[in-house]
Amino acid sequence: MSGLLILLGLVVVIGLVLIGIYNRLVALRQTTGQAFADIDVQLKQRRDLVPNLVETVKGYASHERDTLEAVIAARNAAASASGVQAQAQAENMLSGALGKLFALSEAYPDLKANENFLALQAELSDIENKIAAARRFFNNAVGELNTAIQQFPAVLFASSMGFAAQTFFDLGEERAVANVAPEVKF
C-alpha cells in the first residue's frame, strides 16, 4: 500500500516537473516571438522612411540613378523577405545601400543643408540603434530557448512537442559595422 503511495507521489512529482519545463519552454518561445515582432516594427519603420528619403535626395542628385535604384530595390526586397535568415540578409543589403546613399550626399552641399534630409538622416540613425538593440534582445531570447530545448530532460520531448531551435537574427560579417550607427559626417 505504502509502496503504491510512494509510486503515485513520484509520478505526481515527475508530472509537475514536466509541466513546469513545458510551461517554461512555451514562455521562452513566446519571448522570441515577441522579440521578433519588435524587430519587425523597427524594420518596417525604416522601410517606410526610405521612399521619403529617396524623394528628397532625387531633388538634389537626380542623376545618381544607380544608387537610388539600388536603395529602392533593397527596400522592396526587404519588404518581401520572409523568414529570419532571409530577412536579416535583405535588411543587411538595405543598410549597405543606405550607407552608400549617405556617403554620396557628401558631394552635395545643398542636400546636406536640407532640413528634411537631416531629419530623415537622424531618424534613420536612431532606428538603426533601436534595431541593433532589439536584434540583440531577440538573439539573446533565441539563445535561451535553444539552450532550454537542448537541456536534459527537455531534449527528450521538446522536438516532439513542436519546440524547434530557432535561427539567430545574424548580420554575419556586417555585424561589427551595424553595431555602430551609420557614420554621419558634416
Binding site: 540583440r136 534582445f137 538573439n139 535561451e144
Partner: protein
Amino acid sequence: MFRSYGLRTHIWNNNAKSLALMLGFPVLLALVVFGIALLAVGSGYSSAIQHQSYDVSAPFEAINQALNDPSAPIPSASIPNTPLSLPDGNNSFESALDDALLLVFQIGPIILLATLIWFVIAYFGHQKIIDLATSAHPVTREEQPRLWNLLENLCISRGLTMPSLRIAESAALNAFASGLDDKQHAITVTTGLIDSLDDRELEAVLAHELTHVRNKDVQLLVIAIIFVGIFSFIGEIVFRNIWRTNLGRGQRSRRSGGGGSEGVVILIGLAIIAMAWLLALVIRFAISRSREYIADAGAVELTKDPDAMASALKKVAGNAQMEGAPAELRAFFLENESVGLASLFASHPPISKRIEALQNYAGAMV
C-alpha cells in the same frame, strides 16, 4: 537551482530565490518562539502546568508581561502554582528542552496572532511613510512631456495602469517606485536623472521602476521590513531585560538547587533569538538585492534594449546619493550604494555586478 543562461531563466531563478528567502521569515519566527520558550523555561517557568490542566491564560500572561512591561523580568514568576522542579544533570537539560517544546505550542498561537495584528497595522502605516519622506511632487503630461510619454508608452505596451509620475528636486541620479496598491503606485525620478540621461536610458530606468511595480516589490520589501522590525523588537526586549533577569536569577537558581543547565538553556535561547534577528536582516537585504536583479532584467524585457539599462546604471554609479533620505527608504531606490564591506547588508548589488548580469544574461555590450 538551475543555472541561468538567459534573461528569463535569470528572472525565474531570482524569483525562486526571493521566494525561498521569504519562506525563511516564518521559519525564523518559529525559531524565535522556541528561543523565547527556552528563556522562559530556563528562568523558571515550567510547562508542567500543562500536564495538570490546560490554562490558556498562564502562558499568555507570561508573554504579555514580557511584551508590555519591559521592566518586568521574562520569567513569569507571578504565575501561581508553577513548580520549579528542574533536576540536575543532563536529564534536566533534556526535560528543559521538552518543556520548551511544549511551551512553543502554548505561546506559538499567541505570538502568531500578535504578529498578524502587528503586520496589518504596520503594513498600512507604511503607505504614508514613503510619500512623506521625500519632497517629491506629482507632474502632469504638460510639465514633463518627455518623461510622461516614455512611461505611458511602456505602460501601454504591457496594458498596465500608469502609475503617477513624480519628480524629486535633487541633483542626485536616482529613482524609486512607491505605493502599496494600484491607486497609490508612483514612480519618482530626480531632476538630476532627467537632466543627465538620454531618452533610452531614462526609458530603461522607468522600465526598471515599472518592473518593481509590476512585481509588487514594494509590498514585498515592506513585508520584509516589517518582519525585521518584529524580530528586532523581540530581540531588543529580550536583551534589554536580560541584565535585570540575571540579577534576580541568582537567587532563584539557588532555590531550585544549582542550575548549570538553566544557564545553558537561557544561553541557547538567547543565541537563537540573536541569530534570528541577524538572519532576518540578512534575508531582507538578500531579497532586496535579488529584486534589483529582476527589475534590471525586467527593464530590458520591457525596452528590448540591454545597453540602455547598462549605460544608465553606469551614469548613476557614484552619483546616486540622495541627501536626507531615510535609510529604510533607500532600499526602494534605483541605486543605493553600500558603504564599506557590508555586502551582506546592502540593499542593492554593486553596480558592476548588475552590469555584469546584464552582459551575461541580457546580451548588453556596454
